[in-house]
Amino acid sequence: MEYLIAFVIGGLICVVGQLLLDVCKLTPAHVVVTFVVIGALLDSFGIYDQLIKFSGAGATVPITSFGHALLHGAMAEGKEHGYIGIAMGIFKLTSAGITSAILFGFIAALIFKPRG
């Protein structure tokens, strides 16, 4: 059942992105940026946490969770250390994702040949 929920919620988030692409004629970069900002907005009042609790990977895999995780880490440190904590904690939760993306993106670019 949890797999079905993850599938449906993740799919629906992608449909919203597809509609932004087709109907609003936004470029892919604009759509992704919009989703990150929406994710950060939804972190307020714990809305996104509820969504993660409900749908698991359906909410953590889309890029909205990147914005959510940025703000979430920032707030956790901010509560302890005040305003300077926001700068300290902003990459705390997303560190693994960004590090692996840089590392493996670099390695893949070294190994593979460009095509097209």
């Binding site: 992608c14 990977a57 890029i63 893949a108 670019a109 190994i111």
Partner: protein, 152 residues
């Protein structure tokens, strides 16, 4: 002809000649592919919870890491771009799309060298995501902290 090439009405004049996107079909494709990637993520998450020492809260990081590795590999062998052509936002919105944009930008500029080509262009497309994510998170974080301090 003069009317068709009129600059002010250009966008309106070319409209009948542009291909109309098939909204429903595109949405179904995006739903299926995006849903499938999230399904894969859910399976990975359960795998990490069961066989390694991760809790439900911390399992997100290795899951995203695994998906990113997969996406980098698929981009390298040229498969992810084909998925992207089929699925549109279905492969763009999941975290795999972020990894794909990093790898494809680096690959595209590989001929310019490792430092000036790969390393400089790594964040050519993904930079916007990080910049807007950090800016919006910092602004919202300051606002929320300010309100929390006001309320005591």
């Amino acid at each position: 002809m003069g009317q068709l090439n009129n600059k002010t009405n250009y966008k309106k004049n070319i409209k009948p000649y542009q291909l109309k996107p098939n909204y429903l079909m595109n949405c179904i494709k995006a739903f299926l592919v995006g849903g499938f990637i999230c399904l894969l993520g859910e399976a990975l998450q359960n795998f990490y919870i069961r066989f390694f020492d991760f809790t439900e809260k911390t399992a997100g990081a290795p899951t995203q890491g695994t998906l990113i590795i997969l996406s980098c590999l698929l981009t390298g062998i040229g498969v992810y771009d084909k998925i992207g052509q089929f699925a549109g936002a279905g492969s763009l919105i999941p975290v795999t799309g972020f990894a794909n944009s990093i790898t494809s930008a680096a690959l595209e500029h590989k001929s310019e060298g490792i430092v000036l080509g790969i390393a400089t262009n790594l964040f050519k497309l993904a930079g916007a995501v990080i910049v807007f994510g950090v800016v919006s998170a910092a602004v919202l974080g300051i606002i929320r902290l300010f309100i929390m301090n006001l309320l005591g």
